[in-house]
């Protein structure tokens, strides 16, 4: 294989911009073409990012461009056939999340890629955001001790571009997913949990409801569940997962409770703080602990400022890391950034959650 990967992308919707901009930053890959069934969408992406070719025919793109890697950014219902097409053409695949409509289809997809000896990754970019990378380092150094419990909170902004698109049309593909809004987003909540919860089939309790927001559409949008709570219990580690569309400000954080410390990750401010408890007695200890926490946060913010000055504080930091790691795994036969086992574990957990909340919002 040459030292530069030939890359193409299919599905010129909202997330495609992030993929294209990050691929084009790499010096070991060249984005050759984009494809969408709608020619206007394919052309606009190609024009805005100066991509040499654009197609409406997926097979034609694969045949003409002979890519090494295909980024699949279409709605999840189309992932399986598109993955099969890419793998049959000898390509590795980066598939946007959710991987497929359910666990069974996800398993079929993963098996298909593995049997062909190709590589697969999924768009779990939040697993590679700077706070998680820092957590991995802290855990490796024993700062956390043994993990006992995890809290993962994912706030979703329905007023954002994608939220507006979902509410703007009853025909949006999210409404056709078995887990609807949750299925498209709770990977960000769950992969903070599976990071340190190793169980294959943990015990799960889930509840969901529609808290409020826009209604009176007279269609599927009126039934769109927007609040989800999940309790997960593994052999040694338990977890709470919260997905909320109504809490303001929109926050995303996780807390890891260990036998040595509690580690707080904030994915909005990208800060990491380790709480080791008071080391001094009585009121002095409580006072000192407050200053200690503040200093740790200030230190984390200062490290972010340094990253900014080094031009290393991009919006798509996790996506950039994931793409780079995936390409490295292809070029240097290194480990995959997201293990297939973890992809399938999350798919199974999601199925379990959706089975429990089925009908809760309609």
């Amino acid at each position: 294989m040459s030292s530069e990967l030939k890359v193409v992308l299919v599905g010129c919707g909202q997330i495609a911009d992030g993929h294209v901009s990050e691929i084009q930053k790499l010096d070991n890959a060249a984005l050759l073409a984009v494809c969408d069934l709608e020619p206007v969408m394919a052309e606009q992406l190609a024009v805005r990012y100066a991509v040499p070719h654009h197609y409406t025919d997926y097979q034609k793109m694969l045949a003409e461009q002979k890519p090494d890697v295909v980024h699949i950014c279409t709605p999840p219902g189309s992932h399986l056939p598109l993955v099969k097409g890419a793998v049959d053409a000898g390509c590795h695949v980066y598939v946007e999340k959710p991987l497929a409509l359910d666990y069974r289809e996800s398993t079929e997809l993963v098996d298909y890629v593995q049997k062909a000896g190709r590589k697969l990754t999924i768009g779990h970019n939040s697993q590679f955001e700077p706070p998680i990378m820092e957590l991995r380092d802290l855990v490796a150094r024993g700062v956390l001790g043994d993990c006992i419990h995890i809290e993962s909170y994912y706030g979703y902004n329905m007023g954002g571009n994608f939220g507006k698109a979902i509410l703007g049309s009853p025909d949006h593909w999210v409404h056709r997913l078995p887990g609807k809004l949750f299925q498209n987003n709770i990977n960000h909540m769950l992969n903070k949990i599976t990071e340190l919860l190793p169980d294959e089939r943990p015990e799960i309790r889930a509840m969901a409801w529609k808290h409020g927001g826009p209604a009176g559409f007279g269609d599927v949008r009126d039934d769109l569940g927007d609040e989800l709570r999940v309790v997960i219990r593994g052999k040694d580690v338990s977890a709470y997962g919260t997905f909320s569309s109504h809490v303001k400000p929109v926050a995303q954080f996780a807390r890891y409770y260990g036998t040595e410390s509690i580690i707080h990750l904030d994915f909005v401010s990208r800060t990491v703080a380790v709480d080791r408890g008071a080391t001094l007695p009585s009121a002095i200890g409580r006072l000192a602990a407050g200053f200690d926490q503040s200093l740790r946060l200030a230190g984390s913010a200062a490290r972010n400022a340094a990253r900014f000055l080094r031009s290393d504080y991009h919006f798509f930091a996790g996506l950039a890391h994931l793409i780079r790691a995936f390409y490295d795994s292809i070029l240097h036969d290194a480990a995959l950034p997201v293990a297939p086992r973890d992809i399938l574990r999350i798919a199974w957990i999601m199925d379990e959650i959706f089975a429990q909340i089925h009908g809760a919002t309609s």
Partner: protein, 337 residues
């Protein structure tokens, strides 16, 4: 004559429907997206019983487009996405228009099209300062270097030309400048931008291509009544245009005394250069909100001509003075609510 109005519950769309109702049209088909706010149209429907035929659907579905044009003789196409992610904007403006044009081209009826385009399609960055913008001004050669709205409107108009040429759809294009009035955007970016809580007044003495919403609606209807639908193009700006500075002064006097920093064009140009350089240096860590090309397109300053529109009988019903009074009065009442 059966009329379809797309974007009918929008700022300009509802003004066009009102203008048509005032002119005696009835049974105007208004395409509204499922679940969208149609309050403005409901008010008009109550005022003119039988005046509006509501049709729920979206131009993003080809089948809805076919239903929308069924039995129609004339389409006022005003639908466009005003914001959102790039893909959403292209889908809402360009793909939606393509679907509509496909349906019109496939129809066995001859359906005329009044297309609402925008000044944004002109390649004004290449013009000198104070250069005249009229219908002969070249079309934007680099739409990808402009803002998303301009790019989507460029692609949208290009599609209209393509279908006019290949499918013979009779059409006329109106290119309004800055549409203003009660219920519309408070202030054009041509006046300036709010950046981190500071209002940068970038437009200064530049003339604003204002058109009061009712005058713009008149222009669309006037074109439909008086042109031959052979691909004519008309710019829409009112008379007695004022400058960006005068607009800001009146806004501050009538609505809210916002603090601002006045930025000369040379400084805007240099700031844009710095932003571009940093964007490149940092690999896009901060978005290139300002670029020299965008700044030249928006803040270099032009003059505007409406004589071609006047040649077919259009006259601004509402003077700029009166339009601004209404606009600011509405903003003031909103601010005090």
């Amino acid at each position: 004559m059966k009329i379809l109005v797309t974007g009918s519950n929008g700022f300009l769309g509802s003004a066009v429907v009102k203008r048509l109702l005032e002119g005696g049209e009835r049974g105007i088909r208004c395409l509204v997206r499922p679940g969208s706010n149609r309050r403005k149209l409901d008010v008009l429907d109550a005022e003119y019983p039988g005046g509006i035929e509501f049709l729920t659907g979206t131009l993003n579905k080809p089948a809805d487009c076919e239903g929308a044009i069924d039995g129609v003789d004339l389409v006022y196409h005003l639908a466009a996405a005003m914001g959102g992610a790039p893909a959403e904007m292209f889908a809402g403006t360009a793909v939606a228009t393509k679907n509509l044009l496909e349906a019109m081209a496939a129809s066995d009826r001859t359906i005329k099209l009044v297309h609402c385009s925008s000044f944004a399609v002109y390649g004004v960055a290449q013009l000198g300062r104070r250069g005249m913008v009229d219908e002969n001004t070249p079309i934007e050669p680099r739409p990808d270097k402009r803002d998303l709205y301009s790019h989507t409107k460029y692609v949208q108009e290009d599609l209209v030309w393509q279908y006019h040429r290949k499918s013979g759809i009779p059409m006329v294009i109106l290119r309004p400048g800055v549409i203003y009035g009660p219920g519309g955007p408070p202030m054009s970016a041509r006046v300036g931008l709010n950046l981190f809580g500071i209002f940068l007044h970038l437009g200064r003495k530049n003339a604003l291509p204002l058109t009061y919403v009712d005058n713009c609606a008149d222009a669309l209807v006037c074109a439909a009544e008086n042109c031959r639908f052979e691909g004519e193009v008309y710019n829409v700006v009112d008379d007695d245009l004022i400058g960006a500075r005068a607009f800001l002064d009146r806004y501050r006097k009538s609505v809210k005394k916002i603090p601002y920093v006045s930025v000369p064009y040379l400084a805007t140009h240099l700031m844009s250069l710095a932003v571009e350089k940093y964007h490149t240096y940092s690999n896009g860590q901060l978005p290139a909100i300002f670029t020299r090309y965008k700044s030249a397109s928006i803040w270099k300053g032009n003059r505007f001509d409406n004589s071609r529109l006047k040649s077919i009988g259009w006259r601004p019903r509402v003077s700029t003075e009166e339009g601004l009074r209404r606009h600011f009065e509405h903003l003031k009442s909103e601010a005090t609510q």
